[in-house]
């Protein structure tokens, strides 16, 4: 019974992430609720929800970039190319608004490009959260930017967001994150329980589904998982780190586990990073959201100054989950990650943890080469 429930829920999640924009448009038509897209990473979706709209995190689709190709610079990463391409093909027109995070040059330019090619389609905002978090004024700077965005969102929704609305939305999102953490803990205890691609689907579906619905489905999923008897874990466990903003392509997720290793844990944005931290509810809701964004327990390379200790964090996580090795997945052209990689490498070397770096292309190429490198890495662990 557990397995059939799990299978049913996973099918729903897989359906949501396949052709996400088409599905969202259908959802919007059926529910007549405004939909606001947020670029990764970590825009406080609670604010959009509190205004009675559906927040979604923009996802990379599997379609090759064609029309948008002439609009992107060579150094644009996969997700920014893809968003621009989908926009150029008219796939984003149903959105009532888009919010881009000013986290890197690619994200900023994606916003400017869309604004230029789709000037009438929808309001588009660039959210500028302070990057330099060691400054004394960071909390007030952050609150000020968040208040600006709150007003933009209120204008989009044509209604005020009161403190009660925001507090309720925060509670709902915290609940969803709690469900996802419990799911994460189940996967940690049962690494062979679900394929890595399905674990990604669970998280990505949360980014694309009303949180109320996702929470309900997560409750069923967790119940079903508790009734399952997954195979015991043998063999090599890997910690997968990196891939900010975008989910690794399914072909790569499958390739990693297709070599015979098991992904035991991760710090991907479409994984642990998305749900690791809650908004604390002790202070007021805006303080809670600000606090969550300023929390650096999970190193965030897009909101930092200088060296981050991300390497030390990966070492701790890899040791905790008893991974035999670490796979560092870097999306090509991702500057925040590339800047940190030498320090991550040093930390893993110093800790004596075997690791391999795989750079993923905007469109999947040379899987065979990647397979050989991964297999050779696993053979080194023998």
């Amino acid at each position: 019974m557990g397995e059939s429930t799990v299978s049913e829920v996973l099918d729903k999640f897989r359906g949501v992430i396949e052709k996400p924009y088409e599905k969202l448009k259908q959802w919007k038509d059926a529910h007549e609720v405004k939909v606001v897209g947020c670029s990764p990473m970590h825009f406080p979706e609670e604010m959009i929800h509190a205004a009675g709209m559906l927040p979604v995190v923009l996802q990379e689709t599997e379609e090759p970039v064609t029309e948008g190709f002439s609009l992107v610079h060579p150094f644009f990463c996969g997700i920014t190319r893809n968003i621009i391409d989908v926009g150029a093909k008219g796939g984003l027109h149903f959105f009532d608004g888009l919010i881009f995070n000013d986290i890197c040059i690619q994200s900023r330019n994606a916003a400017f490009t869309l604004k230029r090619i789709l000037p009438e389609a929808f309001p588009l905002f660039l959210f500028q959260f302070p990057t330099f978090q060691d400054r004394e004024t960071v909390r007030e700077d952050a609150m000020r930017e968040l208040e600006k965005m709150r007003k933009n969102i209120e204008n989009l929704a044509d209604r005020r967001i009161d403190e009660g609305d925001l507090a309720r939305s925060i509670a709902l999102f915290n609940q969803n994150r709690d469900f996802l953490r419990r799911f994460h803990d189940w996967c940690l205890r049962n690494p062979r329980g679900l394929a890595f691609r399905d674990r990604q689907a669970v998280v990505r579906a949360s980014m694309l589904t009303p949180k109320e619905e996702h929470c309900e489905l997560m409750a069923s999923l967790l119940k079903g998982l508790d009734q399952m008897n997954p195979p015991s874990f043998e063999g090599k466990g890997l910690f997968v780190s990196g891939h900010l903003c975008q989910s690794p392509k399914t072909a790569i997720l499958d390739l990693i586990e297709g070599t015979g290793a098991t992904v035991v844990d991760d710090d991907l944005y479409t994984g642990y990073r998305y749900y690791a931290l809650d908004a604390g509810t002790e202070a007021g809701p805006m303080e809670a959201i600000t606090g969550r964004m300023l929390d650096r327990s999970i190193p965030v390379p897009t909101r930092s100054e200088g060296v981050l200790r991300w390497g030390e964090y990966v070492v701790e996580r890899a040791k905790y989950c008893r991974a035999q090795g670490v796979v560092v997945l870097i999306a090509k052209y991702c500057e925040p990650h590339l800047f940190q990689y030498p320090f991550i490498k040093s930390a893993l070397n110093a800790a004596g943890i075997p690791h391999i770096m795989l750079e993923t292309e905007p469109e999947v190429v040379s899987l065979e080469g990647m397979r050989t490198r991964l297999q050779a890495f696993l053979e080194m662990l023998d």
Partner: protein, 261 residues
């Protein structure tokens, strides 16, 4: 008595090595092919067995390696060419620390710890520039037999400057150099310099510790070997039959399974 077999299915050749249970090489075979597939692997293995006066039933364990390792359905196990080239090179030259392998369409540098264990490696992952296929295309563009390229290049005092980034663009450069009257010898020397530079940066990625062994078909090209020795400032050891190093490594892994050695 059972034997151990290793088959290396590359993009241009299929190589087989047969080892007796005492670890001695009973036979080996290298076959060229336009299409390298399971049939080529089978043919290579059968020819090697024939040379050793054995039949298929004598094979106690078969390990495949190389680009086509997973297409051989009659293999007992497949192991990557990184591990197999390391193992094979260590067998032929105990204490080797760096293995440079340039095959038909891939190139790699493998760092070993001196005890035969792989500690790091670097591979070409974006294109086949600087590999055997690159040399084939250049030989075709120059109308020079591939096997003569190495010796010819040693006669150059002024190698031409050629891109090491893309086989197709490099071919255009070669044609353009020919049209401008550059000698074939200088162009070939330039091609080898391009390969050497490419491998030099890969060696820097994996780490260089002598002694260095070179394997793969391109190791037979004395021009490339000479450039590498100069750029790395260390001798490059080329085994008598560099093309079978991977298959030898695979056979050694197979030998482990039949309790031989």
């Amino acid at each position: 008595m059972k034997v151990a077999a290793g088959v290396d299915i590359g993009s241009l050749t299929a190589k087989s090595v047969i080892l007796g249970q005492d670890g001695k090489m009973a036979a080996y075979r290298v076959i060229q092919g336009k299409i390298v597939d399971e049939n080529a692997a089978k043919a290579s293995l059968e020819q090697a067995l024939e040379e050793a006066h054995l039949d298929r039933k004598a094979v106690g364990f078969l390990v495949t390696t190389g680009y086509g390792r997973n297409m051989v359905h009659f293999a007992d196990k497949s192991i990557t060419e990184i591990s197999c080239h390391a193992r094979g090179a260590e067998c032929l030259h105990p204490g080797v620390h760096t293995v440079i392998d340039i095959g038909g369409q891939d190139s790699k540098v493998i760092a070993l710890d001196g005890g035969g264990r792989v500690v790091n490696f670097a591979m070409n992952d974006k294109c086949a520039a600087g590999t055997g296929r690159f040399l084939e295309v250049m030989a075709g563009a120059l109308d020079v037999p591939l096997e003569e390229m190495g010796a010819l290049s040693l006669g150059s005092d002024d190698p031409a400057s050629i891109s090491s980034i893309c086989t197709v663009f490099a071919e255009s450069e070669v044609i353009s150099l020919k049209a401008r009257g550059r000698s074939k010898v200088d162009i070939i020397a330039g091609i080898h310099e391009a390969i050497g530079r490419r491998m030099h940066s890969m060696v820097n990625q994996a780490g260089l510790t002598p002694p260095v062994v070179m394997s793969g078909g391109v190791a037979k090209n004395v021009g490339v070997v000479s450039v590498l020795e100069r750029l790395l400032a260390t001798p490059v050891i080329v085994p008598q039959e560099p093309q079978i190093v991977g298959a030898l490594g695979a056979a050694l892994f197979a030998l482990d399974r039949i309790g031989g050695g």
